[in-house]
Every structure is written in C-alpha cells, then in structure tokens.
Subunit: 171 residues, 2 copies
C-alpha cells in the first residue's frame, strides 16, 4: 500500500507479501482498509499521551504538532490518506477509525479543554467538539485535498488563531 | 453513485444508465471520480457568490452556512464524500477538485478576508489560508469521518470561535 497506493494493496497482494493465504488475511481483517487501519494504529500508538505539566496552550499545541509531524514526516500520512479514502465507502471501517483512532485522541483533547476551562484559561461556553475540529480538521483537510502544505509552524498558527481570535479588536 | 455509492458507480454502470457506450464515457471523463466531480460542480455552481453588502462576519458565515447546508440537506454531501474518497488515490482528480471547486471558493473567501482586514474587522497578521481551513476544514472533516453532525448552527459556532477566540481573556 505504501509502495503502490491503496488500489495496489489488494487482499491478494497483502496475502502474497505476508506469505499466507488470502483466507488467512480475511480471517483477521474484513478489508484492505482494515489492514491499513491496523498498520496505522500500530505505528501511532505512542502519539496519544500528552506529557505532564504542560500549560493548556502547550498541551493543545503538543497534540496538533504531533499529528502534523506524523502526517508530514512519516509514512503515517500516506496510510491515513488510504484509510480515509476507504472509510468513506466502508461504514465498518469508518466506525473503527472513530472508535480506535479519533475517539481516544479526542478524549485526551477533551480533558485538556476541560482542565483549561477549570483553570480559567479557556472560555467556559466554548463548543469543545468544534474546538477540536478547528484544530485537527485543517490538518486532515490539507492531507486529503492537498491544497496546502503541512509546515512545522502550522500547529502554532492554528492554536494561536483559535485561542486568541482573528477579529481585530481581540488581544 | 447516489444509490449504491462510488463502488457501484463503475464506468460500465454509468454508461449503461446514460444509454451510451463505455468508450463514449471515457472520451469525456477519465474516471468515475471525474464524473462525480462534474455532477458535483453542476449542482453547486450557484453557491460560490456572496450577496453584496454583508459585513465581514456575515460574509464568512454565509459561505460556511451554505457549505454545511449543501452537505447536510442535499445529495451534494454524498457526492463530495465520493469525490474526496477517490481524489486521495487519483492525483488528476485531486488537482481538478482544487482548481475547479476549492480554488474558486477560496479566492472569494480570501477577498472577504482581505476586505475584512482593510475595514479593520480582522487582524492584519492573520494567516488567511489557515483561517479558511479553520472554517471549512471542520465541515469536510466531519463529512468524511462522520464523528460529528453538521447542525445548522455549526457555521455560527465556527465563525464565532475563530473570530472571537476561545481563550478566557478574550472579549
């Protein structure tokens, strides 16, 4: 899949590369997208935890920066593109992505936001789900459509603009 | 494609439904994704222009609200999901999406942002591309992964949070 894209990674090709029968692959994974998701999760397991002692801004930055770094500098970007592509037409895979990748990361981010509100750093009336989508959504959006790059300072820009606001009378 | 998803909309099926030969379809469109993109653009042509006389906030709201409405209430959402899915593995289609759909809309939004800065409504040091991604990215992100809904008030939330900021010391 990394060499030829998702289209090349048929279940036959995956079985051939693994040196097992196609039936064996199908025993464990229902589709090539499911194989891709497991490959993805296997590589990103350690990217969810946020170090202790960070400020609210630092903790939000940490997660966004890490996502951008993974997508830009590692094969994770290509794998996530393949997973997203197939998830659109595969409800089981889409649910697996939500439950196994987006959900756990978003739970950690929701904790950061809750703590930020409790500490008086963030507005108590914010929409937590929308905050996460305004920090991570731009990264996935660029990854999928390729209309913009994923530069190392993108995370800082996204966090600064969302926290401080872009209206002129702010700050 | 709307009935059976992108997987069902083979070039054979498209030709059969249109009552023409597959060669005729291939003469005009290189792939099913290209057919989907034309179907998409045919339906959304009128959604780019912003009415005259709106404030900066209203103009930004107008575009986001319109995108959310199209994705939620019309078949455009399903078509865009199919287009996005195939664009990931089809560089020609991805370029067509950027040049024919994202580009023109973003040019209009960039004008709104430039005018907003000139009027003193928006911070002159904002990152215009990132602003657009923080308004539209969340909508595509939810459309593709389905982790959140597209309620009618989402546009208001996205614009309010990004313009006013979610840090507690704002406003």
């Amino acid at each position: 899949m990394l060499e030829g894209g998702l289209a090349a990674a048929t279940m036959e090709a995956i079985a051939a590369r693994a040196g097992v029968s196609k039936a064996t692959i199908y025993k464990w994974w229902p589709s090539r997208g499911a194989v891709a998701l497991d490959g993805f999760l296997d590589r990103v397991q350690h990217s969810i935890a946020i170090p202790e002692g960070l400020s609210t801004v630092e903790a939000l930055r940490f997660q966004v920066d890490e996502l951008i770094r993974l997508f830009r500098d590692t094969e994770i970007g290509a794998i996530m593109r393949a997973v997203a592509s197939q998830a659109v037409s595969d409800p089981d895979l889409a649910r697996a992505v939500r439950e196994r990748w987006l959900g756990p990361r978003r739970a950690v981010a929701a904790d950061v936001i809750r703590q930020g509100i409790a500490r008086g750093d963030l507005r108590p009336d914010l929409d937590s789900e929308a905050v996460m989508d305004q920090l991570y959504g731009p990264v996935y959006y660029r990854l999928i459509f390729g209309h913009g790059p994923l530069p190392p300072d993108l995370g800082a820009t996204l966090v600064t603009q969302l926290l401080g606001g872009v209206a002129a009378d702010q700050r």
